[in-house]
Amino acid sequence: MHIICVDMEGVEHKLEATEEWSVMEIIRESGINMLAQCGGSCACATCHIYVDPAWKDKIPEPSEEEIGMLDGAFEVTEDSRLACQIFFTKDLDGLRVTLANGSV
C-alpha cells in the first residue's frame, strides 16, 4: 500500500504506507523533511497538506480542533488538512496529497 506525496517542487513521491499511521508519520518516515513540530498532537499546523479532491469522501471530516488549528497555516483552501489527523486505512491506498507552504 502507498500514498502519493507531491512536494513543494511539484515532484511526486510514492511512499510506502502502513495502516493506522497518520499521513504525517508516513511522510516523515519516508525521509521527506516535514516540520510537524508538535509531533502529531494537532497543536502547531506545520503538517499542512492539500488532499486531492478525488479522495475527500474517503477521509473522515476534520474535527473542530483541526479546523481551528488550520488558522495557523497559510494558503488554506477547501482541500487543506493537517496530515497528523488523517489516519491511513486500506481504503486510502493510493491517496494523493500535496505539501503546503510552511510545512517543510
Partner: protein
C-alpha cells in the same frame, strides 16, 4: 557603546538555554549538587513546548503521573525546583556564546544580558519560538519595515492604513487596539470564525457593524510595494476573483514556530540541526557545554520528556566536575540523604 556592553556580566554556576521541562528539571539535578542556575528563554514564561504547543493537552507518559497537562507538568516542575531558587531571563534569546579569558563560558542574549559560568546546558528543544512568517514571494524585503509579526510601538501605526491577518487573540487584540489610531484597519481571516476571547470577537464585530473597521474573509496571496514599503496586497476570497487592496502596513499573526536560531553558531557541533552527545555525560564537542532534551541526538534517542529527565541527571554529574573541581562527587538518594534534605528545605 552598545546596550550589551553596558550590562555587567552575571556570574553563576550554570547557564541553561531553554526553560522547557528539561531545562527546568536540570535545575533540580544541578541544585542537588550545589550548582546555581540561570535560565534563558525567548518565551515570556517557563514551559517551552509544554506551555506554547500543548498547555491543555494531556501527557500520559511521565513516570508515576498517570496524566497531567502541559501546564500542570510545568507548574509541578516549577514547584519542585523552588528550593534551588533559579533565576529566569524570559523574553530573551541566547544570541552568542564565547570563551572568557578565565576559561568560563559567556552567554549574551539579544536583550544584552550577559551570563558567565563554567557550564552551559543547551536545553533548547527545537529552537526558539518565533512568529510564523508569511510565505509570500518577496515579502522579506518588507519585513521589519512595513510588514510585521509583532507590534513594538503602537504609535508607528498612527494614521496608517493597516491590514491585519489572522484569526486568533493577537490579530483581534491588535485590530481593536489599533483601530482608534489608524486611518483604517482591515482584518483578514480565512473563515468567519475566530479562535479568540469571546469578548474580543464581540468588540471586533461591533466595530465592523459600526463601520469603524473592515473584515474580509479570505487569504492574502501577494504583497506589492517598493523599497521595503508595502503599497498593496492581493486578496483571494473564496469563489471570487482576486483583487488588490492598498495599505501602508501589514501585520500577520499566525502563531509561533520553532527555529534553531543563533545557538547553531555557538561553536557546538550540529548534525541535521541536532547536537550529537556522549551518552555517559551528555557533553557536546565543547568541554563544559552540554545538550539535553529534544536538541540532542545519539544512537537510540527518543524525543520524550522522560528521556530528557534522565539526560539531565547524568549531565549534572559531569557538570559538577567543572563547577566544583576541588570536590568529589558523592552519589546520594533524596530519600535518605539528610544532606540533600537540607538543600530541599526538608530539614527535620
Amino acid at each position: 557603546m552598545s546596550a550589551a556592553e553596558l550590562h555587567t556580566p552575571i556570574q553563576t554556576d550554570v547557564v541553561i538555554v531553554g526553560a522547557g521541562p528539561i531545562g527546568l528539571f536540570a535545575v533540580f539535578e544541578l541544585g542537588l549538587y550545589d550548582m546555581k542556575c540561570h535560565l534563558i528563554d525567548i518565551l515570556d514564561r517557563a514551559g517551552g513546548q509544554c506551555a506554547e504547543l500543548y498547555p491543555e493537552k494531556p501527557i500520559y507518559d511521565i513516570p508515576a503521573v498517570p496524566v497531567c497537562t502541559g501546564t500542570e507538568l510545568v507548574d509541578r516542575l516549577m514547584e519542585q525546583i523552588k528550593p534551588f531558587d533559579p533565576a529566569f531571563h524570559f523574553g530573551q534569546m541566547a544570541e552568542k556564546m564565547e570563551k572568557t579569558a578565565d576559561g568560563k563560558w559567556r552567554v549574551t542574549t539579544d536583550r544584552g544580558t550577559i551570563l558567565e559560568a563554567p557550564v552551559v546546558v543547551l536545553a533548547a528543544g527545537g529552537g526558539s519560538f518565533v512568529p510564523k512568517k508569511m510565505p509570500l514571494k518577496g515579502i522579506d524585503a518588507y519585513e521589519g519595515k512595513s510588514v510585521f509579526y509583532a507590534v513594538r510601538q503602537m504609535e508607528a501605526f498612527r494614521g496608517k492604513k493597516i491590514v491585519i491577518s489572522g484569526g486568533g487573540d493577537s490579530a483581534l487584540d491588535w485590530a481593536i487596539n489599533l483601530q482608534p489610531i489608524a486611518e483604517r484597519v482591515t482584518l483578514i481571516h480565512r473563515r468567519d470564525e475566530f479562535r479568540a476571547a469571546p469578548d474580543s470577537v464581540g468588540k471586533m464585530r461591533g466595530l465592523v457593524s459600526e463601520g469603524a473597521m473592515d473584515l474580509v474573509i479570505g487569504n492574502i496571496t501577494a504583497v506589492d510595494g517598493q523599497d521595503g514599503q508595502i503599497s498593496s496586497i492581493t486578496i483571494k476570497e473564496s469563489d471570487k476573483d482576486t483583487y488588490v487592496m492598498s495599505c501602508d502596513a501589514l501585520l500577520a499573526f499566525y502563531g509561533l514556530t520553532m527555529k534553531l536560531g543563533p545557538v547553531a553558531e555557538f561553536g557546538v557541533t550540529f548534525e541535521n540541526e541536532l547536537v550529537p552527545v556522549d551518552t555517559a555525560t551528555f557533553e557536546t564537542n565543547l568541554p563544559g557545554v552540554f545538550a539535553i532534551g529534544d536538541i540532542n541526538t545519539y544512537p537510540g534517542k527518543m524525543k520524550l520528556i522522560l528521556s530528557g529527565f534522565h539526560e539531565a541527571a547524568l549531565m549534572a554529574k559531569k557538570a559538577f566536575t567543572f563547577v566544583h573541581p576541588d570536590r568529589r562527587y558523592r552519589f546520594q538518594y533524596t530519600t535518605s540523604s539528610s544532606n540533600l534534605h537540607g538543600k530541599l528545605g526538608k530539614d527535620e
